[in-house]
């Protein structure tokens, strides 16, 4: 479901280990917002609104992380950027524990507020359809942003060739700040949106990062098209693996990641191999 949201990870040149943490943060914020909303007596049918708002609001943490930490290491080796996002993972994990405690949180009962639908012989909660629709809308919006707006062009240029973009007078630092914030907000929003379907756990970010990692690697760092294909491939493979041999599910994903990394270090759509 969150596949569409992962698209942006491809654009960020920094390989962000912390994206999973942002996702979890969004989820917890969503739970709190909905809880507050319900106790304030808002109509249940509109619970998506505070959910989404909460997701977007905590996306602001992206600004903090970018301004406070990441901007210092743009010129350094990627290994240090990776380490810094690892530091963020550590901090976020405890920050979440500090605020929300260690036990899983869920939005009791809201999941089925919108009822269920019979679809192709299976029972599908309407909420799932809403999330899928939202993912599509977001994916399309990002696609539009990237291909049709000036900012999108700058972003793609930056991903392609930083030096060139800089030479053309683009302030890379501002671009990175915006991209990172956008990525964070999408991550937190994604986390918030899936929350009615599951419970918020501190481990949930970890599951996501696995997927995001696979998506980004399979698709290629910094490639939009690749991220789409990667997301699709991971989704399909997971469902196949789950139905055939559940033990192999995650294993399979990693094996594919390794195969892709070995054969095409820059991903299937990442241009020429290194």
């Amino acid at each position: 479901m969150a596949a569409g949201l992962q698209v942006v990870f491809g654009v960020q040149k920094i390989f962000n280990l912390a994206c999973g943490s942002f996702y979890a943060l969004g989820a917890y914020a969503g739970v709190s917002a909905v809880g507050w909303y319900a106790s304030a007596g808002g109509p249940p049918a509109l619970f998506v609104v505070p959910l989404a708002l909460a997701g977007l609001a905590v996306g602001a943490v992206g600004v903090v992380v970018e301004r406070g930490l990441l901007r210092f290491v743009y010129d350094r080796d990627e290994t240090f950027q990776l380490l810094l996002t690892f530091a963020v993972v550590l901090m976020m994990e405890d920050a979440i524990r500090m605020i929300w405690g260690t036990s899983p949180r869920s939005t009791s009962g809201l999941y089925l507020t919108y009822g269920q639908l019979q679809l192709l012989g299976a029972t599908v909660p309407v909420y799932n359809l809403i999330v899928i629709a939202a993912s599509l809308v977001i994916a399309l919006a990002i696609g539009w942003l990237l291909t049709r707006t000036a900012f999108g062009r700058i972003m793609r240029a930056a991903a392609d060739n930083r030096e060139m973009a800089e030479a053309l007078g683009v302030d890379m630092r501002r671009v990175y700040a915006k991209v990172f914030t956008l990525g964070t907000a999408l991550g937190t929003l994604g986390g918030a949106l899936v929350i009615p379907a599951t419970a918020a756990m501190s481990e949930m970010g970890i599951e996501l990062i696995v997927e995001a990692f696979a998506v980004v690697v399979i698709g290629g760092l910094g490639s939009m098209r690749g991220a789409f294909v990667g997301a699709l491939a991971v989704g399909v493979l997971r469902s196949i693996a789950i139905s055939v041999y559940p033990e192999l599910e995650m294993l399979l994903i990693y094996l594919i990641v390794i195969v892709v990394l070995v054969l095409r270090p820059r991903g299937l759509f990442g241009g020429a191999a290194a």
């Binding site: 930490l69 990776l82 380490l83 550590l90 390794i258």
Partner: protein
């Protein structure tokens, strides 16, 4: 000379620690010594070869699970056999992984090692019949040099014979690693770290040396991993998780990868700091994340130096 004195003092302090120190601190020394072995190996790759692995928890896991498997599934209890098996298994697993990984550098190397680490993690998590899944596998008390120590209370065993056994292993590991970094091989690794393209023109085959360094570091990680088991008596998948790999790199950075004993110091500081912070507030990760961020950002010359100072390979010029 100064280093020799410091080393002698540290050894003496470690030797008398169980006699004068409180049980709590002595018990903390056990994971420290195990991690010190792991990090000595990791730093051969990191500090001496210039490759940052985000998947070394894989080999720590292999060592720990080897010990757990042997003690709980067979009648063998000998720690010597366990350590040897861990080393051999570590090398066997490392060889194919290394062969693939060392062809890449920087972030691609990091991501590949991370992916391999996670393959192993999911393996131990999902194949619970073999590994006990997330519950883990018990690591029964191993015998040391043929002595079973079965009658001894666990604390006495750990702070007594096991402590000195760990110390001996660490001492031996340090000695061997010191020889390695002072050997012609060690020098070749440093040339590869500093400038792989130039090393090649001197006839130093970069992939071959990286491969060897990787396998050696994996053996160290596996031996250290096996030493981690007995104090807790149980081995679980978090040992193989990627954040554990990250912590290993963190410890190395904390102490400084630019020096031989830096990572050992890092392991010491990490473990004691972690315990101290945990005794004050439950959120040690928050504090440690902040420390790591500070180290990475403020990055004194020695820290950033290794990676940023490296010259790019000479581009093909027309």
């Amino acid at each position: 000379m100064k280093r020799g004195l410091g080393l002698a003092a540290a050894t003496a302090a470690m030797a008398v620690a169980p006699l004068v120190g409180g049980t709590y601190h002595v018990l903390l020394m056990l994971p420290f010594m195990a991690y010190a072995v792991v990090l000595l190996g990791l730093n051969l790759l990191f500090g001496y070869t210039g490759l940052v692995s985000f998947g070394h928890a894989l080999f720590v896991g292999i060592g720990a699970y080897t010990g757990a498997f042997i003690t709980s599934r067979t009648t063998i209890r000998s720690l010597e056999v366990i350590l040897l098996s861990a080393a051999v298994l570590g090398a066997l697993v490392a060889a194919p992984v290394a062969a693939l990984c060392v062809r890449y550098v920087k972030i691609y190397f990091g991501m590949l090692t991370l992916a391999f680490g996670m393959v192993f993690y999911t393996f131990v998590l999902k194949f619970y019949r073999l590994t006990g899944g997330d519950e883990g596998t018990p690591f029964l008390r191993p015998s040391l040099l043929g002595h079973a120590f079965d009658a001894m209370p666990k604390i006495d065993y750990l702070t007594g014979p096991y402590y000195y056994y760990s110390m001996a292993v660490l001492g031996l590991a340090t000695l061997v690693m010191w020889r390695i970094v002072c050997s012609p091989f060690g020098l070749c690794l440093k040339t590869i770290r500093d400038n792989p393209a130039k090393a090649e023109t001197l006839g130093i085959g970069v992939t071959r040396y990286r491969f060897l360094a990787f396998v050696i570091s994996a053996v160290y990680a596996a031996v250290g991993g096996a030493l981690l088991g007995p104090p807790t008596g149980n081995v679980d998948p978090t040992l193989a998780y990627w954040t554990h790999s990250g912590s290993l790199v963190f410890m190395t950075l904390l102490g400084g990868f630019a020096s031989f004993f830096g990572p050992v110091v890092g392991a010491f500081v990490f473990i004691y700091l972690q315990n101290w912070v945990m005794s004050v507030v439950p959120y040690w990760r928050l504090v440690f994340g902040a420390i790591l961020a500070l180290i990475v950002i403020i990055a004194p010359e020695g820290l950033a130096g290794l990676v940023t100072r490296r010259r790019p390979a000479p581009a093909e010029r027309a």
